[in-house]
């Protein structure tokens, strides 16, 4: 394994200890007073005699390109070339502790120290040069990292000469005069980001790519209270862990259990992943919060009012209003939705800990890990790598702590990768918010009163391992962060603002535009409502009341850029079923502790199109203006604004965390939490206001803040309907328009079928009655004498090879091999309606297998279903089919089995239900359904057809599963032949003209299916058929063709042209275009299934699944196979469909099955019993 940790930059201590530097330093946070050693100093900027500039920042790059912008600022103030500057970001051993990277303050706040430092170094360098050259300082100039004297064009002195013997540590000054803007060479110019070249060729090392020698792989198992981090049950719910449940998985190095924390360490990642899924744990039950109505939940949750502003007499002013407007706005829970689930590597050694992390908060994480391990923080080294974009707080810190616990347990470095499901469930959500505004219009369009109340439920989302292990209390804490941008931009004469601080309901923390986005959604929707009531254009109305000149300037500039046409009231411009509208909103993002610091101003003009038939809202264009103060990297700022526009549009139109009655958070994948995709992109026009003479304000989040109100105001302009709750899903919009959503697929609420045992016990009674009289008079069959195991040399290689193919045709190994067991050694539990048959050892072991069976004993078993000792075999062993095999083939099969390695493995008893547990009764069964003898060819048919029938009906034993059975478990005869049966909880579909699929089987498709496991007109083999297909690979092509020929004769294939036409019609009718995603389950399909199953993809995909409109599973009479496929996937068989068992819960699977049936088999009735099918499949698959 190679080491992918990049070579370290010059470290703080190494730089401070060497000669030939000028460095700007400050006392390191927490260092003992009076300690003058290097370890007690923070290094902000350092220039070496070789001309390298290294600048240190405790904040990190979250993928926004901040590394590039910071380097620009340092190079600018230092007058060095951009390329000379290296940035070290976020590593705790090297950088100053500047807190968490939040609130877009890196440029605005954190960069100041390094800018000052750069200015100091520049001044000292000039002073040194002047002294060395014995001239005045103002004769020296510094350009592009070189020192010139007077008008000289050649450098007057080089750095090495000047610094070689120096070791100058300058204390960081409190302030400095920065270069005036008109001298800027780098700031204000677009500079290509330094990280992108490595990101596009795979050489960039994300935290996910860190590989250290001896590294093991870890996975965690999270508790069932998904996404909840407060309450008595947190950290105290684990009852027991069944260590044996993962005993069969190789490579496991440790199972770590502490409180509610469970982690597994394995040698390979897939082993850890498999074990985490397989581990059985028992948990106490808990009661998830009821979040079916977020507004109600927030209102009911205990909170503490905090009066932020109380100016004038609001209550009195409310009484003077000419038009009273009281409004409520509701903001849903959102996800950060990092594209990569969090990952970390930890190495816990005797001398300390190194953690490689993508944390947004390296220093707070260091504190958390000190608390977790009891080590002093100096012994914990946090090495920061970039990760997937985070936009707030994802699970990066959680997984770092997980990795520490696992590494400590095994004494080796451990990499922990969270799953997509875990990241979705456990990331601290962007909090929901509820806002009430009381107010209205006074005389002449005045604004006498504004009574604003905002409810915000969040803590700071403590690092999960601390809670799960009980290191910190599980009681709720409250984060007072709901007050951002709580002050409106308008002059309300009397104003009262109240924030209701409350602990989280589900785990929550800051997400881009934290609390400001919801607050501004309310402020800027409300002002729009007031404008309408006042009969004034919304932009004009804002400008009349705006309380900030820069906001006014930006409002005018943005409206002008978008060619805003003043108007009053909704215009509702209709173009067929499309209604178009345009909306405005603006705000200045205020962050930090109340009253906070103003960041950049942003204004939006949003153009929308609303489909009044489907309710779909499209944002077609966004004109976004931003006053971000001094712009460091215009290209970077523009890109960041694009990102804000797209992400916030996604949040406003589509996003909302769903909750379940059993696990709290329900959304575990991109289907249940859909985000904006490429076809939905609005056009974006960015207007950057020129304020280079002002302080830089950063660009991280501001452009998101006006998004929701601008879009909602535009929808109002388009439809005349005002939406005060998000997201603007088609269902919500249609309901708002007073229309019913299009008929949803039938909900799977139908009654469950009677329990299977009821039916089967009746059949059992019938069976007992039918055979009762016979049982007494039947002779028990005689045993056949055991023999010594024949020498495999008895048979020719050709015979054994023929036997091998026949064993594959008979799929002997499929049933006679246990999960993870030795082939042919038995032990596979075969579920039948009559109980569980444990398959037996058919290796040639004399004691536990069939090693002492003579050929006559073997043949009798194959033809008559009798054990060598005379016992009757259960008809799960399809001897009725095998009986039809030729003597020569049975001889070859015997030869093959007898030539296999003998494996000693005791057979386990079958668990049959009464009366099938009485073996002698099986004799009666044989009397009733006596197997037929060897199959005789039909002379009127071709040789190929006859060969096919022989293979299908003989060893191939297709009818054993594909022919329905009668009450006594025997195959029905005559017209029922191959018209569909069942196998191991799967439906075995009809192979004849009774096939449910819309396109009849043809010879070509049968051949494709039997040869490759997949037919374009029917779908892929799954469940018990998958291993059969795998076995059929051993058969020669001629035999597969013969089987196809025979089976095709049972169908009525269509002419090719008709096939194409019918397939085309079905694809069209079931296409995305014909089925807009106007329900959560439709979006679930779109996010989870369509990537592989949507026909008409623009480019082919290796993993593409069959077109669902043609799939037999969708057209079958029962949902069994579809549900099984969703839960099991095809990975273990012949296909590549992943299992959705962990990504989707029972309700989602059931709804998805109902939706798929309605959409892809529109002519068929809705399925009954979907819920029951899901419950059944869950029992057998996991």
């Amino acid at each position: 394994m190679t080491n992918s940790t990049p070579p370290p930059s010059l470290s703080r201590q190494a730089l401070l200890q060497r000669g030939g530097i000028i460095a700007v330093v400050a006392p390191r946070k927490g260092a003992p007073a009076g300690d003058a050693s290097e370890s007690a100093l923070d290094l902000h900027v350092c220039l070496t005699a070789e001309g390298r500039v290294v600048a240190f920042c405790g904040h990190v790059d979250l993928g926004t390109g901040i590394r590039t912008a910071l380097a620009q600022m340092v190079a600018e103030e230092l007058d060095f070339p951009f390329d000379a500057v290296e940035m070290v970001l976020g590593d705790t051993a090297d950088t100053p502790d500047q807190g968490a990277t939040i609130a877009s303050e890196t440029i605005q706040v954190t960069s100041v120290a390094m800018r000052i430092g750069a200015t100091q170094i520049r001044a000292r360098l000039i002073a040194l040069a002047a002294a060395a050259l014995a001239c005045a300082e103002d004769e020296i100039s510094l350009r592009d990292g070189r020192l010139y004297r007077g008008e000289g064009t050649a450098p007057a002195i080089d750095l090495d000469t000047l610094l070689a013997n120096e070791r100058l540590l300058l204390p960081l000054a409190e302030s400095a005069a920065f270069k005036p803007m008109d001298h800027h060479m780098l700031i204000g110019r677009s500079v290509a980001r330094v990280d992108i070249p490595a990101k596009v060729d795979g050489s960039f090392v994300y935290v996910h790519d860190v590989r250290v020698p001896g590294m093991l792989h870890g996975r965690v198992v999270r508790p069932p209270y998904s996404g909840m981090d407060a309450g008595d049950f947190v950290g105290r719910s684990l009852v027991s862990v069944d260590r044996d449940s993962i005993a069969g998985i190789p490579g496991i190095r440790a199972l770590v259990v502490e409180g509610d924390f469970i982690g597994i360490v394995a040698e390979r990642e897939e082993q850890a992943a498999e074990a985490a899924l397989a581990l059985k744990a028992e948990w106490r039950s808990f009661t998830p919060p009821d979040l079916s109505d977020v507004a109600q939940a927030l209102r009911a949750h205990p909170s503490t009012p905090r009066l932020l502003v109380d100016e004038g007499d609001v209550d009195a002013a409310l009484g003077t209003l000419e038009k009273r407007l009281d409004r409520t706005y509701v903001w849903p829970y959102h996800m950060h939705g990092s594209i990569g689930p969090s990952c970390a590597v930890a190495d816990v050694r005797a001398d300390g800990i190194t953690v490689w992390t993508g944390s947004q908060n390296p220093f707070p994480l260091q504190n958390d890990l000190a608390l977790l391990t009891g080590l002093p923080r100096e012994q914990i080294d946090i090495v920061r790598h970039e990760a997937a974009g985070c936009y707030g707080r994802n699970c990066a810190d959680d997984v770092a702590a997980d990795a520490v616990l696992l590494s400590r347990a095994v004494g080796a470095p451990v990499r922990v990768q969270l799953t997509r499901e875990q990241e979705h469930l456990w990331e601290p959500k962007g909090a929901a918010q509820l806002i009430d505004i009381k107010g209205g219009l006074g005389s002449g369009g005045s604004l006498p009163a504004y009574d604003f109340h905002t409810w915000y439920p969040s803590n700071a989302a403590p690092t999960l391992a601390l809670l799960l292990t009980g290191r910190i209390p599980n009681q709720p804490a409250t984060l007072r962060m709901g007050d951002r941008t709580a002050i409106p931009s308008y002059n309300y004469e009397n104003m009262r603002l109240t924030a209701y601080d409350m602990p989280p309901i589900v785990r929550a923390s800051w997400l881009r535009g934290v609390s400001a986005m919801p607050n501004v959604f309310a402020h800027e929707s409300y002002i729009d409502e007031l404008a309408h009531e006042a009969g004034v254009d919304p932009v004009e109305f804002r400008l009349r009341h705006i309380n900030d000149e820069r906001a006014a300037e930006l409002t005018r500039a943005t409206a002008e850029r978008a060619d805003w046409q003043p108007h009053v009231g909704p215009r509702m411009e209709a173009d067929g079923e499309i209604l178009r509208g345009r909306g405005f909103a603006q705000a200045r993002y205020v962050h930090g502790s109340w009253p906070g610091v103003g960041a950049a101003w942003a204004a939006w003009v949003a153009d929308v199109a609303v489909n009044r038939t489907t309710g779909e809202v499209t944002v077609s264009r966004v004109t976004v203006g931003q006053d971000t103060g001094m712009i460091v990297n215009p290209a970077g700022v523009t890109h960041q604004i694009h990102g804000n526009v797209l992400q916030s549009t996604s949040r406003v139109l589509r996003e909302e965390v769903s909750f379940s009655q059993t696990t709290a958070v329900a959304a575990r994948d991109w289907g249940a939490y859909p985000v904006l995709t490429f076809p939905e992109l609005p056009a974006i026009d960015v207007l950057l206001v020129d304020k280079q003479h002002e302080a830089p304000l950063g660009a991280g989040e501001s452009a998101s803040v006006p998004s929701a109100a601008a879009i909602v105001n535009a929808v109002y302009d388009a439809t005349g309907v005002r939406f005060r709750e998000l997201p603007l899903t088609p269902e919500r919009v249609l309901a708002g328009l007073g229309q019913l959503p299009p008929a949803a697929p039938a909900a799977p609420q139908l009654p469950e079928r009677p329990p299977r045992f009821g039916l089967w016990s009746k059949l059992g009674a019938a069976f007992a009655g039918a055979t009762g009289f016979a049982a007494v008079s039947l002779a028990i069959a005689p045993a056949i004498a055991p023999i010594t195991r024949p020498d495999p040399a008895t048979w020719s290689a050709a015979t054994i090879e023929r036997g091998r193919q026949l064993a594959a045709l008979g799929a002997c190994a499929v049933c006679h091999t246990a999960k993870d067991g030795v082939p042919y050694a038995g032990g596979f539990p075969l579920e039948t309606p009559f109980g569980t048959v444990m398959t037996t050892n058919i290796t040639p072991d004399p004691e536990t297998g069939i090693g002492n069976w003579s050929y006559p004993a073997f043949e009798r078993a194959m033809r008559a279903g009798l054990h060598r000792d005379g016992r009757h075999l259960y008809p799960a062993f399809p001897y009725a089919n095998y009986a039809r095999t030729s003597e020569a083939d049975l001889q070859a099969l015997y030869a093959f089995l007898m030539s296999q390695p003998a494996v000693r493995q005791e057979n386990q008893p079958s668990r049959m239900t009464f009366p099938f547990n009485l073996r002698p009764l099986m004799a009666g069964w044989n009397l009733l359904f006596r197997p037929q003898g060897e199959l005789k060819p039909e002379p009127a048919r071709s040789a190929e057809w006859n060969r096919g029938r022989y293979l299908v009906d003989g060893l191939g034993h297709c009818s054993a599963c594909h022919t329905p059975r009668n009450a006594l478990g025997a195959e029905r005869s005559g017209s029922a032949y191959l018209t569909g049966g069942e196998a191991e909880g799967w439906e075995a579909p009809a192979l004849t003209k009774a096939s449910a699929g819309p396109i009849p089987w043809s010879e070509a498709e049968l051949y494709a299916y039997l040869r490759t496991g997949s037919s374009q007109h029917h779908g892929a083999a799954a469940g018990p058929m998958a291993p059969v297909i795998a076995e059929l690979k051993e058969l020669p092509d001629a035999d597969i063709r013969a089987m196809a020929t025979y089976l095709a004769s049972l169908s009525e294939p269509l002419p090719d042209a008709e096939v194409e036409a019918r397939a085309g019609r079905i694809e069209l009718a079931t296409s995305a275009a014909a089925n807009p995603a106007t329900s959560p389950v439709a979006r679930l399909y779109q996010g989870a299934c369509a990537a592989c199953h949507e026909p008409g993809r623009a480019a082919p995909l290796v993993n593409a699944g069959p077109a669902l409109g043609l799939s037999s599973k969708l057209h079958a009479a029962t949902p069994t196979n579809l549900v099984n496929m969703l839960l099991e996937g095809g990975q273990h068989g012949i296909g590549s469909m992943p299992s959705f068992a962990t990504a989707l819960d029972d309700r989602q699977i059931a709804e998805l099955a109902g939706y798929l049936r309605a959409r892809f088999a529109p002519g068929k009735p809705g399925w009954e019993g979907i819920d029951a099918a899901v419950a059944r499949a869950r029992k057998t698959t996991h």
Binding site: V200, A388, A635, H642, L681, A1099, L1101, Q1131
Partner: protein, 164 residues
């Protein structure tokens, strides 16, 4: 049945023997055995596209592709397209269009775009968007990504017409 065995993988023109189970996703072998950083783990469900590689020139979601289906086929990852010295035109276009923020999804964008452009060398912008529909980006770099793919397509066409 647990059937650990060796798989011959041909990745970026080199042969590798890896050992594992047939249903284990290709992605684990590419990342952990062959130590490639390009293909990323995003969802494990084939939903987001961050893990995209090419198999026989066609885009494949390595997180959901059992290794047995990749055996002895020509696998190309982001690293195999080109490197800093000789970037593929699509990679160069992504650099020139500055088409990455965090960049975690970019592997999938480039690999999908590369496969798409071989099928449709002269796409419209709408076709590019459609081709990338099932590749998710959370930072909101879509505008720059579309621009990069259009740029790559233009350049590839220009260089083809320039060649004799």
């Amino acid at each position: 049945m647990r059937t650990t065995r060796r798989f011959a993988l041909r990745v970026n023109g080199a042969d590798h023997l890896v050992e594992g189970e047939p249903q284990t996703p290709l992605l684990f072998f590419l990342r952990n055995d062959i130590c490639l950083n390009g293909p990323k783990f995003g969802c494990g469900l084939g939903e987001c596209g961050a893990c995209t590689v090419q198999v026989d020139g066609i885009a494949a979601r390595a997180c959901a592709l059992p290794v047995r289906l990749a055996e002895s086929r020509e696998i190309v990852t982001l690293e195999g397209l080109g490197d800093g010295d000789r970037p593929d035109p699509v990679q160069q276009a992504f650099i020139d269009a500055q088409a990455a923020q965090c960049g975690y999804c970019i592997n999938g964008m480039i690999m999908t775009a590369k496969a798409f452009l071989t099928v449709n060398p002269a796409p419209s912008e709408a076709e590019v968007r459609e081709a990338l529909r099932y590749n998710l980006c959370r930072c909101g770099t879509h505008v720059e990504i579309v621009r990069a793919v259009m740029l790559a397509a233009e350049r590839c066409r220009a260089s083809e017409t320039a060649e004799p």
